[in-house]
């Protein structure tokens, strides 16, 4: 209710309003804070304010039933809690606030572009970072391969009915097997994961080997961080 709203005149008031107004006068502080605004049920807002600030939450039968009073009490309780938190809070540290804001923005940026999942309605999407992680993990299952980076992008084909994607994955590989076979195994693993783990239409997988792994570094299930990526 706006502060300059005209209050109902005494002739407009429901029967309980006079009593309610009398109640409000018992709480001059609350009335001072909340004004003499009346809720649609006729109760003064100051009464709800008083109840919101009451530790015991002593709601009377009307307040516990009335949706207007309940809504006002709920909102004022939240406001009161926020006010108390502000009072208790130390002065905000500008640096940590900036750090939190930067981190929030960075984590959003890290999600990457949103890729359309393979669904005709085109309203299901996955963050590129999430898809790339799954595809890198799939490449890692190929013996002698360690995925380094993975980019996924929609293929540029304006005439395609379904959106399809191109994957570019960079890996390190051991040299104990021909690289062509290894690259083909990576491609198959990525295509399989795209379809069966994600449900993402991928038509092209480009595999780039940009580092050599020592054979001992990828024996068994043990995986080591690459010194060069």
């Amino acid at each position: 209710m706006a502060l300059d709203d005209p209050h109902p005149t005494s002739s407009d008031k429901p029967a309980g309003v006079h009593a309610a107004a009398a109640e409000a006068s018992l709480h001059p502080d609350a009335e001072l804070l909340a004004g003499a605004e009346l809720l649609p049920c006729g109760r003064p807002l100051g009464h709800a304010w008083q109840q919101a600030r009451s530790a015991a939450g002593a709601a009377d039968p009307h307040s516990s039933r009335c949706p207007h009073c309940r809504e006002a009490i709920e909102g004022l309780t939240a406001l009161d809690r926020a006010t108390r938190a502000l009072r208790a809070e130390e002065q905000p540290d500008g640096h940590s606030l900036a750090t939190r804001v930067i981190n929030a923005v960075r984590s959003e940026v890290r999600l990457g572009t949103k890729l359309l999942l393979d669904d005709p309605d085109h309203d299901l999407r996955i963050a590129e970072s999430a898809a790339a992680k799954v595809l890198r993990r799939a490449a890692d299952t190929v013996p002698g391969i360690r995925a380094a980076s993975c980019r996924v992008a929609a293929a540029k084909d304006d005439h395609a009915v379904h959106v399809v994607h191109v994957v570019v994955i960079t890996v390190a590989a051991t040299l104990d097997q021909p690289l062509r076979g290894r690259a083909e195994a990576v491609r198959q693993a990525v295509l399989h994961a795209a379809e069966h783990v994600l449900g993402l239409a991928v038509t092209t997988v480009d595999v780039e080997v940009n580092a050599v792994l020592g054979a001992s570094r990828v024996h068994g299930d043990e995986r080591h961080e690459l010194s060069e990526r």
Binding site: A78, A82, A104, L111, D123, R125, A130, L198, G199, L200
Partner: protein, 120 residues
């Protein structure tokens, strides 16, 4: 439609998404994250407005043509096929929101966009 109805739609959509097997959590959008970062008081306000946290990760808007557009951002369990879970989320959320607005006597078309932000 007032703020209370808007909040109820948020909560209905959030609950419907979280009910889908394979959905681990909802991921707040940047606006929610900035609000969290900007002020710890948000916590106090959010605690007072029941369900606000629960609904972070859901954005709802009433379009100019009177349809509800709902966006859900979720984190999924890696053991489920992503597109299958996303479809179930879309259907569950659409059904829940459609049902809520119909109960309010304001039947309106509902579109749902699901974004998977992570699998863990």
């Amino acid at each position: 439609m007032n703020a209370s109805h808007h909040g109820n739609i948020h909560r209905a959509a959030a609950r419907a998404a979280l009910d889908v097997p394979g959905v681990l959590a909802l991921q707040p959008a940047l606006a929610d994250r900035l609000a969290l970062a900007a002020s710890r008081v948000y916590e106090a306000v959010a605690a007072g407005a029941t369900g606000r946290h629960e609904a972070a990760g859901v954005r709802c808007e009433l379009t100019t043509v009177g349809a509800w557009h709902v966006e859900v951002r979720c984190i999924l369990d890696k053991d489920h096929r992503v597109v299958d879970v996303a479809r179930r989320v879309r259907e569950n959320v659409r059904r829940a929101v459609t049902s809520y607005v119909a109960q309010q006597g304001r039947a309106a078309p509902v579109t749902v966009v699901v974004t998977v932000t992570r699998t863990v």
